[in-house]
Amino acid sequence: MAQNIVTEATPYRTRPTMPPVLRGFLWAAIGFLVLNMATIAVDPFRGHPFITEISAVIGWVGGVIGWLLGVGGWEGVVLPLFGVPNPWVAAPGWRKYLELSTEHKVIGIQYLISSTGTFGIAGLLAMGIRYELMQPSLHFFTYPDQYLTAVGVHGTLMMFAVGTVALVGGLGNYMVPLMIGAKGTVFPRLSGIGHWLVPAGVLTVIFSPLFGYWTTGWRGYEPLASQDPSGIIYYYLGVAALTLSSTCVAVNLAATIVFHRSNGVTWARLPLFVWGILTVSLLNLIWLPEIQMTFVLGLLDRLVPFNFFDAIGSPLNYLSLFWLFGHPEVYIVVVPALALWNEIIPVMAQKSLFGRSWAVIGLIFVMMLSGLVWAHHMFTNMRNSEMFPFSFFTEMISIPTGFSFLAAIGTLWKSRYRLFTPGLLVIMSMFNFLVGGLTGVFLADPPVNLEVHNTFFVVAHFHYTIIGGMVFTWVAAMYYWIPKLSGRMYNEFWGKLLAIVIFIGFNGAFSQMFLLGLHGMNRWVPAYPPYLKPMNYEVSLFAFLLGAGFIGHGIHLWWTWVKGPVTPDNPWNGRTLEWLTTSPPPPENFNGEVLVTGSFYRYDIDKPAAVLHPPE
């Protein structure tokens, strides 16, 4: 909004008195205390403790505002909003990642770092969960609610701070402007402030157990949530911050894709990943505000208290409102991954993309159908007559999802597929997502669903789609683009070895969970009948292997970023626009004007898809 300011003097940097992140924490503490005490001051019921549930909510708002202002929002957003120029210029070196930035590449890296860190924390929780499940009784966690909280925090963080964020806020922010030949985004400040909501939300969710263990898992089912200790409040608030962040990304990237495409990037030429981000942004824009308001209602149910979702309200209403968002959410997670397959495969295969329009139509129809299937999560509690439409749409949504396979399979036929790590991981991801998708067909059939719903069969199914589909593709995309992000190349041996490790760990762990579910293992249990122990024990061993593999990938990518051998600008011989510029790209993305004259996915044409006219 504050784009139209120019400063006459050369920009100067007033040194902040302390590092922005540190100042963010300090201001957050101040913000919390001020609003907390203000709430206590008007509390009509004296004699409460210093922090009550209501003051914790209002104080949290103050804390988040303080945090956002502290990391640079005061200088970067608030002052310009009131017409005062921003006294800061971007910090040099690595410090620029630790303050508010308006450069989409910096923001993208910030999102990736936040997401990766969260993935590590939530993954560690998963290891704790699996360690607990090695024995049929409580032996690692002391109380069952600790286990349930671990499950809830794991799920919440993975969905809202990794699944929704890594490919969209992270790679989307970094790559989309590059891939459409833009020099920046439409709302850089919005996007910059958006990132810093992620650490705020993540910390809120991580520390929520300090206010009491909450037991609902990532879905916050009512009326259980109303009955839980106060920790559940910080689940609502953490999710609010994280979803707000994704909303910022969605507005910014959607507007950027529509208005900042360079000359020649027509809709017919728009890269697939950009299509993926555009469809996902629309999903985000519709459904994230929906879940935010649902959580506000849940919060009011608890704080006032109202009776929207308990026995004298309607628990089913909450379930519907939750899944109305919740099912599109899983497509928010996987649609960019499906798009990435067909971004990476043609480059690795050096072969023209097969059926491009089918791949795009698939993404769009998945987006449109995703809002019509939510109640298949509720076959166990819906009216009989409602089963028909929801099972119908659920079965139908596999058709457009299949179009991504159609395009990938057509492209691979008779190609010269280069089995570099990204290529290998994409193939693995296709296999995993195939398993996830086909087991989804079983779940779409209500009689089968009624047996396996809420069992480990479902746990396995969605981990196959989310880890197998999205996380594997995320790792593939990191290897594919790390030369662009850093100008350096990873080590092929380690990349492939670690890819095989996570493939074995993943399939070993989650394929057996299907059998566990069919054999009577239900979800959210720190203890289970002893006959299920042997397979659970094996699952845990494979899960530890998977965890170790992810840590290995993290270390390897970090090593690449810092020490990897320097690589040319276009190591894969790709045709999309991000390969047209230097690695890493300059601040303005391209040294000159981009003109696109051909298709990005035609490898039968020798002429490059675009030319870069150097500045006069």
Binding site: V6, F259, L297
Partner: protein, 183 residues
């Protein structure tokens, strides 16, 4: 200040407009949720305890706030900066008056909060009031910014943007009024 406004190129301007409208459309979603919940629990029931007059006054104030803001923006199109600022400031005061009336209604608790209708009433009017407050903050910020940056008729996107917010507040106020007091 060492700062001056420069014209935005038309393509960029279209991007801003599109983005902001998109954002406001998404912010209609929470209201759809609220109205749906209202319909679910209350259908067409209106509590006889509601004060119809105060509800109408709230909407009237919001309409006035929108009108004055609009006239401020019209003045800006004729390069009348002080007209813009005074229009926005009046709009701000009228909007605050709307919130004061809402606060009075809450304070007196004409509608008992422990009832089905009461839950809906406080939730829906509270969320509407919150969005109104955000809109007023934007109006305040832009009225200050307009003076500092010396907006011109070619370069007053920010004022236009503020009016988008006020329009959104007006719409939500009207629809909320209809749902809470009429249907």
């Amino acid at each position: 200040m060492g700062v001056e406004a420069v014209p935005i190129n038309p393509r960029e301007l279209r991007g801003y407009r599109f983005g902001l409208v998109l954002f406001l459309f998404t912010q209609a979603v929470p209201f759809v949720v609220l109205y749906a919940v209202e319909y679910y629990f209350d259908a067409f029931y209106i509590s006889p305890a509601t004060n119809q007059w105060l509800g109408a006054v709230e909407v009237l104030l919001m309409i006035l706030a929108w009108t004055t803001g609009r006239s401020g923006l019209a003045a800006m199109r004729h390069n009348n900066l002080s007209g813009l600022i005074s229009g926005f400031r009046q709009s701000l005061v009228l909007g605050l008056a709307n919130l004061v009336v809402l606060g009075y209604q809450w304070g007196t608790r004409f509608v008992p909060p422990g009832t089905r209708y009461g839950e809906i009433f406080y939730t829906v009017s509270g969320v509407t009031g919150f969005y109104t407050l955000v809109g007023l903050f934007v109006v305040l910020a832009i009225s200050i910014r307009a003076g500092r940056l010396r907006f011109t008729s070619e370069n007053c996107w920010d004022a236009e943007a503020a009016m988008y917010f006020v329009t959104f507040s007006l719409l939500t106020n009207v629809v909320t009024y209809l749902f809470l007091y009429w249907i």
